[in-house]
Structure formats: C-alpha cells, structure tokens
Amino acid sequence: MTMYADAPAEKAEETPPAAGPQVYAAPGAEGSVVSYKPRYDHFIGGRYVPPAEGQYFDDITPVTGKPFTEMARGTAKDVDAAVEAGWKAFPSWSRTSPAERALMLTRIADRMEANLEAIAVAETWENGKPVRETLAADIPLAIDHFRYFAGALRAQEGGVSEIDHDTIAYHFHEPLGVVGQIIPWNFPILMATWKLAPALAAGNCVVLKPAEQTPASIHLLLDLIKDLIPAGVLNIVNGFGFEAGAPLASHPRIRKIAFTGETTTGRLIMQYASENLIPVTLELGGKSPNIFFEDVAREHDAFYEKAQEGFSFFALNQGEVCTCPSRALVAKSIYDGFVGDGVERVKRIKQGNPLDVSTMIGAQASNDQLEKILSYMDIGTQGGAKLLTGGERADLGGDLTGGYYVQPTIFEGTNDMRIFQEEIFGPVLALTSFDGFDDAISIANDTLYGLGAGVWSRDGSQLYRAGRAIEAGRVWCNTYHQYPAHAAFGGYKQSGIGRENHKMMLDHYQQTKNLLVSYAEGPMGFF
C-alpha cells in the first residue's frame, strides 16, 4: 500500500499480505490472533487503577455495532492521579540519557513488530477500518515512527554560540515536564504514536486520553509494551471529553497540551492553555483539494492510473482522515473523460467485512459519525449538488447489518456549496472543474482550512508552482496519503498549530536552556 513506501498501488490490490488468513476471526472468537480483555481500567503510575467514581462505559465495534469490552470512565480525580504519577516519575525519567530513551523507543517498535498482526486486527475491530490498511499502513507506520524518534533524539544537538572570545552561549534541550495528549479515533494507535514518540524521546512524562470511540486498542498495545516503560512515564486515563478531556486540558500542572480534533474543541484547548500559559499543538483537519491538471490525461498510461487512484483516495480509511482529499478539482478540458473513469473506479471499491484482507473500505467509526455523513448527503442534495455515485448507507447483511457502513459517494457542484466547505469526515467527494492554473489555485485556497492538498501533473514546473501557491502545510505532488516519518505534517489557517511527524516535533516537547558563560578573567568594569 502506498502509505508506507512508494510501491505501485496495484501490487497491494493483487497481493494480500503473505502471512495470515484471508478473513481474520473477530478478536476473542475461536481462531482469532488476538483477544481484548473484558474490561480496561486507567493505567496510572505503572499499574491498572479502577476509576475513582467506579463507572465504566461500553466500547462498541463499528464492524457490527455491538459492544466488545468496557472502559473505565475517567473524571477529574483520575486525571489528578495521573498527573501526580507523571510528576513523580519525571525527576528520574528526565535525567535518563538520550541513549536510554532511544533504546526504549526501539524496543517498543520491536515488540510491536513481533505482534503486528494481532495489533492490526485489534485496531480494525475497534475502529472499523480495513485490516489491509492496519497491516500495511497504520501499524508499520507507528513502528517506524518510534524508530524515527529514537534516531532523531540520538542525532539531536544543542548549540554553542560564541558571543565574543570569552563569552559563550550554550543551548541545551530540556524536557517540559508532564504533558497532556488527547488522541483522535481515526487512527487510534498511529495518532497516539505521533504524539507519544516525540514526547517520550524528549524526556517528558505523558498523560494520554484516548478517544472515547476507540479507547481499547491503545490499551491492548500497552499490554504488550508496558514492561519496557518506567512507572509513571506513560499514564492513560480513559473517558469522555467533558469528564476527562477537559480536566486534563485545563489541569494547572501540565506543561503542554496536544490535541487532534475539531475547531471548537481546539479553541477550548487554547482557552485552557491561555489560563495556564502553556503551549499547545493542534491539528484540526481540513477540506483538502486534489487538483488534476490537463496533462494528466495526455496519455492513458501508468501515471494516468496513478492519478485515478489519487482521485479515489477520498474513500481511504472511509474518508476519516484529516487530510482526506475531499474536494477534487479537475481541469475542464479533460473533465468528462477523467471523471468518467474516476467514477467507474470508485464504483469498483470493494466494501465489506473490515477483517477480510480484500476489503478496501470498512465501517465508519461510530453511529454519530454515520448519522453526520448521512445528514451531509442530504445537505449536498438540497444545496443543488448532483449525485454521481453512492449517496446512501450500505447494508452488508448478516452480522454486519448493525455496522456503520456508507457507500463511497461523489457529488458534483461548486466550491461555494456547504459540502465543498465543511469537513464531512466520510467517503464523500465534492467534485468540481477549473479553467486554468489561476482558477485552480483560487478554488483550492477558497477554504477556511489548509492542512493537505494534492497536485497532479506531468510538468514538474507546474507541480512546483501549484504546490507553493496552495496555502496548506502538506502538498502531495503526484501522490497522496503517504505519511512517512521525516516529512513534516501540520496545518495552515484554521487547520492548527505545529508540525508532527518530523524531528521538529521534538522542539514542541522541549524547552531551550541557555547557559550564558563568561570565561573572562576580570570584571566587566561597570562597578
């Protein structure tokens, strides 16, 4: 699959993963490679701790719509205990050598790699995404991410500045302390890894709150790696945003808060951070344009096929990606042919049981997500957009009838329509045409957001000019949906603050300590 390495996409479709069955058994069922425990508490100070208020909530698999485990329902008291545990661990953890912290990260990666199949199946069961994605993208990317930050930490250098011959400024990296992290539900383990790896590498202790829709897979992973992490360095409090997320984000003893999600909560996080005067990193999504210039269709060759796949990528991960290419902009001169081929390709996307390795699109992560997507299909139709394919909930029959499945959907319209301007977070494409370069860029930038974008052309100069003109933090050129570590990821405009997925994220989890040292023998001469 193309998210990990630049391998031809066709291969992923032809060749299922070498090992493992064609259809995985559900976690806990006979023959399954993995089982969830019936209940997960909070993980605080190196051990599992029941919730202070004694309450639990059901965790539902979107594959069937049925509960499969229960989670501790955290409150402010649990968050207090977790922050306290973090500060208790911080003095010794912050003084470990970079080598020691890097080794822990590589050992976590090795342990994940040895259990990749089990983690991938568990992730699919909780989130609803196809197991081919978790096997080939989510979990391999997470493994590589831990290794990347192990390497980045070892290679990081401070600075020495010569102010004058006798006066030297030394710059050291120091950790912040205990940091809060609130994780989204679309890539539960990968998004947790994006935040955890740099924070731990930098020597911080972490209090992490998983999304209430997908809290369990992170605990399943934790079970595999917890012996590698000193007590209190990583603390996980489950629960709802209002009851556990807000107390964490507003906690007076955290030194930084990181959040991935939507804009209103992003503002609330900044509001809390302003009260405590702490830094934030935010990733708040987008409405990413995917631009196909005229020369894409000059020949019907491998590159044309690649661009067609790029057009279809709005359905990857059921559209539940912050950078979902949910607006396609196609040059007028090639519109009918290119779109015709694209619609046919989208119709061939195989929807089915997420545990079947041949399934390309699985279930939406939750019922409210499903309802929201359906409500936007209604908005699309009412707003005057023309439905080209899809447009309904999909009933896959059997046990899957209760699951949250949506047909890949394409609406044709204009960029001022609400479906072109609001993130639907489902497999729904808003399609329009453009007339020339300037028109393409103008439509692409006519959005409140600026997280991702795609540009497709056979002309390198055009790719470059378009890439630089688009107001977005990540512009994929002749590719899309690749998320390798060492390529900075973050938003312009209302899409957020900070850059993940790159060594520069270490800076977001570090203080700079400056020692200004005089080696002069005598006084300065003022007094």
């Binding site: 945003g241 939507e262 209103t264 992003g266 609330l268 409210d368 409500s375 609001e422 977070f425």
Partner: protein, 137 residues
C-alpha cells in the same frame, strides 16, 4: 410565526432539559474541522468563550430551561447564512468536550435552505442568482 434560523427537535429539547438540570444553563457552538467537527458542541454557559469571531444565530426556546444560545464562527457563517438549522439528537459516542456525550447521545445538525420569504424577513443579504460566479474570499 416569526422567522428564525434555528430550531430544536423534541428529542434534543428533552436532552437539553435533562442536561440543564445537571449542569445549569447551556449554549451551543458549531464546530468545524476533522473528527467530530461539523457538529454542534454543547457546553454549560461560561465554559466556552465566544468572541468577535463568532456569530450569535439566536436562542433556542426550550420549555422549562433558560434560552440556549447558538453560536458559530463568523467565517463559517458566511456559508451557512441561507441555511436553517435544526438541532437533533442521535445515538452516539462522544466528541470533543460536548456535555451530552457521556449519556450515549450526540447532538446533530439537520439543515434546510431558508425560503425567500424567510430570507427577506430575517434581512439576510440576497443570494447570488443561480449560475452566478460564487463568492471567492
């Protein structure tokens, strides 16, 4: 009946009454962006600070509790000004810090286009003629 941009379904109104009994007066702010975005977030009054970048769409009149103010960012409102929204309630599992999530329910927006009569009564600037070049900011 006086034209309004907002309404609430009976199920959502019941939930608001039940939440207000626990948390006191409530308000909504419509979210944008990824994950649980494009959804209304409900907070106890005072939890979320609105400001100059927000538009007050109106107050929901829910019998038995204080009026529930509904806000949206001004930038997003530009695209919504001809839309009538109804706050509904569905089964769901959380999102952001919205207050109803622990109840296993989620507020959701249902939309319809305002009629020409409503647009006139509400004093909203007229829409572009069909086929006209859309507004580019």
């Amino acid at each position: 009946m006086v034209a309004s941009k907002i309404d609430v379904t009976p199920a959502a109104a019941d939930m608001l009454r039940s939440l207000a009994a626990k948390h006191g007066p409530l308000m909504f702010h419509q979210s944008g962006g990824c994950c649980d975005g494009s959804s209304p977030m409900c907070y106890p009054v005072g939890m979320f600070r609105t400001g100059a970048s927000d538009v007050h769409l109106g107050d929901l009149d829910v019998a038995g509790i204080d009026p529930v103010a509904v806000y949206m960012s001004a930038s997003q409102y530009e695209l919504w000004k001809f839309t009538h929204i109804t706050i509904d309630l569905v089964d769901g599992r959380g999102s952001g810090f919205s207050v109803e999530a622990p109840e296993g329910k989620r507020f959701l927006i249902r939309s319809r286009m305002l009629t020409d009569a409503e647009v006139a009564e509400l004093g909203i600037e007229p829409r572009f003629a069909l086929g006209a070049q859309p507004l580019r900011r």
